[in-house]
């Protein structure tokens, strides 16, 4: 008996070893390095100089605008994604003919195979003066500027992150027990109240998963605002890039990175709590 137990444990340990090693080398160790950097000082010529000070954390208000912009962009972007994604997921899961479903799902996923950078870069040309504005000018609507506007940034975000929102919602709707919908109708509920009381409520775990996924990625976003917003709006991701590569204030950059990680963790926990509460006692695994 005991031997068997040990052997099982050994097998489990061996199976987990690669993943553990990966996490230690590429997540835990870098995180420790960043934590150590964050209590250091900027060397006179830039970079890191050993020290023990909380000055970098005290300096965080110097990037308050960047934090604020990010805290507005991330939920707003995720919400916009949700509003576009939900009807698509609903159609795919409950309305689309069975034989088309896989093809339609593939169409949602395929653009994701191309790098986000490529797709965002393509939007630069589509929205730029030789793209849509040129077409509009052709039909007589002159001097429309689309690129480097907040709308262009929002479009880029929705476009870029849509599949991440559609898929979890699709999965939760697909598992929906159709008999519940019939029961709701039999008991006299209108389609709207069936949707609100049954469909939406039971798909909330998927909604919250998609929402947190998109929101966490948006917390570190810098590419889309840079390329489609003209670099005029400064997010925490932009602040990090500048601090590491331009002004080379690595300790301050590290302190911001640590803060960003902590904020992401708080967001995850909060989202988890909310979705657990909203969908009754069912546990939801976000990650």
């Amino acid at each position: 008996m005991r031997d068997n137990f040990l052997r099982k444990n050994l097998v489990t340990a061996l199976l987990l070893a690669p993943a553990t090693l990966w996490l230690v080398v590429f997540l835990v160790l870098p995180f420790i390095a960043i934590a150590v950097f964050s209590v250091g000082e900027r060397a006179p010529e830039g970079g890191y100089q050993a020290a023990f000070t909380l000055a970098q954390y005290a300096n965080l208000p110097a990037r308050a605008t960047a934090f604020w912009n990010t805290m507005v962009l991330a939920p707003a972007g995720a919400l916009a994604c949700l509003l576009v994604a939900y009807p698509v997921a609903y159609y795919l899961a409950l309305r689309a003919p069975e034989r088309w479903r896989l093809i339609l799902l593939a169409l949602v996923v395929i653009p994701f195979w191309t790098s986000l950078l490529m797709r965002t870069y393509a939007w630069m040309y589509v929205l730029g003066g030789r793209g849509i504005p040129a077409l509009l000018a052709y039909v007589g609507i002159e001097d429309i500027r689309l690129i480097n506007t907040p709308g262009a940034v929002l479009l880029g975000i929705v476009y870029g992150y849509l599949p991440l929102m559609i898929l979890p919602i699709y999965v939760s709707l697909e598992r929906l027990d159709r008999r519940l919908l019939e029961a709701s109708a039999d008991l006299g509920a209108t389609p709207v109240s069936t949707f609100l009381g049954v469909t939406l409520r039971l798909s909330l775990p998927g909604v919250m998963t998609g929402f947190s996924l998109v929101m966490i990625l948006l917390l570190g976003e810098y590419l889309i605002p840079t390329l489609l917003g003209g670099g005029k709006v400064f997010f925490i991701g932009n602040a990090l890039v500048d601090l590491f590569l331009q002004s080379r204030n690595w300790p301050f950059g590290s302190a911001i990175a640590i803060t960003l990680v902590l904020v992401s963790v708080v967001v995850l926990i909060a989202a988890n709590r909310i979705s657990t509460r909203l969908s009754g006692a069912r546990r939801v695994d976000l990650m």
Binding site: G46, G128, G129, I147, F234, Q246, S247
Partner: protein, 387 residues
């Protein structure tokens, strides 16, 4: 200059991929999208006509079979590296960068793997202070002739009589204007900033680069381009914050927007100015009469270079005027070497964008080393960008 179907395009497939790879690393900067069109074709024609006659000073040493260089986008004639490989067997891997700060960050982090790189004048003293660049062994560079170099452009490569870097080319930082859209002629930085808030509202671009954006805002008030004085920087900041809502973009990637007609005016480096004007004649290149930046790019060898013999061999090869002249035709920047200037075609030497009149050059300032590492300027730039 030869014309082909590619000349009018905003970019070519290879350059597009090149740009993407740089953006992927997360930096959009200084020499981004530098030589967008055409010049490669012109260079290929010149290469056939001139031939190559390098001095074989590298025959004695074992050069290995590969080396790596860090430089700016579209800054070399690709044929140069191919010919170097033919002559020496050394394959050259080219890494392109967005800013001097980024190059410095990589060298500070260690193990860059470069055996040669292309820093700008004002960074060399910092590299020397941090002991990351090699004091050059001039005996290994017989093709370099210091007596033929214009000392105005080359002095910063030598510190305490020791040469750490030899010049590649020089240039200026002015602004490009689409004169069809902004018809009032402009000659000064004051007009640049004022126009950005008036006729050019929503159509002007400034660099995503502290040195030039803060420097040229300082020129609005007639202060030094390199000022670190808090009261002068405060005035520059006031101007920048006032202009910010009127800008089209804060980006050093200005060629596509200028070519597409989205932007009408932008801060601009010599090479970009020459290329924009060549392809779209109504885009003019203006040097602010108050002054601004003049710069020289150098070649230097990192102390931890993995293949120093090849680094020296390539540097010596590039110092050969016959090779250098093709480099200048490819990247469009003016040369510091009198031997090269003798070989350049007259229309290049007569181009006022590349070789401005003396009275426009006089007030220009070289970037100062202190701006590179000054936390005050870095924070000002962050406040401007986040405003």
């Amino acid at each position: 200059m030869s014309k082909s179907y590619r000349d009018g395009l905003p970019t070519s497939p290879e350059k597009f991929v090149d740009q993407l790879m740089r953006l992927k690393r997360g930096s959009i900067g200084r020499r981004e999208f530098l030589g967008l069109t055409g010049l490669g074709v012109a260079t290929a024609v010149m290469a056939r006509e001139l031939g190559i006659m390098p001095t074989p000073a590298y025959a004695a040493e074992n050069l290995g079979d590969r080396m790596s260089i860090a430089t700016w986008p579209n800054y070399h004639d690709p044929a140069t590296f191919e010919n170097f490989k033919k002559d020496t067997g050394v394959a050259v891997e080219v890494n392109v960068f967005g800013s001097n700060e980024e190059m410095l960050a990589k060298l500070q982090a260690g193990a860059s793997g470069w055996s040669l790189f292309v820093p700008t004048n004002y960074t060399i003293s910092t590299y020397k202070k941090l002991a990351i660049i090699e004091a050059l062994d001039m005996a290994k560079l017989p093709n370099f002739d210091g007596s033929q170099e214009d000392p105005r452009f080359t002095s910063e490569g030598t510190i305490d009589a020791v040469t750490y870097a030899v010049p590649k080319n020089w240039g200026t930082t002015g602004f490009a204007v689409n004169t069809k859209k902004l018809t009032t002629p402009m000659t000064s930085w004051k007009e640049f900033w004022d126009t950005a808030m008036a006729e050019g509202d929503g159509r002007a671009m400034v660099h995503d680069y502290q040195l030039t954006t803060i420097g040229n805002a300082l020129k609005y008030h007639g202060f030094s381009f390199n000022s670190l004085k808090p009261d002068e920087l405060a005035k520059a900041e006031e101007l920048l914050l006032k202009v910010k809502p009127h800008l089209f973009a804060v980006s050093s990637d200005y060629q596509p927007s200028m070519r597409a007609g989205d932007a009408w005016m932008t801060m601009c480096w010599t090479n970009d100015g020459a290329q924009l004007h060549r392809d779209i004649p109504e885009i003019a290149y203006v040097l602010g009469k108050e002054g601004g930046e003049i710069w020289t790019d150098f070649y230097a060898i990192p102390k931890d270079a993995p293949n120093k013999p090849a680094g020296y061999a390539l540097l010596n090869y590039l110092m050969n005027p016959q090779v250098a002249v093709k480099e200048h035709l490819a990247n469009g920047a003016p040369s510091t070497d009198a031997r090269v200037n003798k070989l350049l075609p007259k229309e290049v030497l007569d181009n006022p964008i590349l070789y401005p009149a003396a009275d426009l050059l006089t007030p220009l300032e070289f970037g100062a080393a202190a701006t590179l590492t000054d936390p005050g300027r870095a924070e000002l730039m962050a406040r401007f960008k986040s405003a």
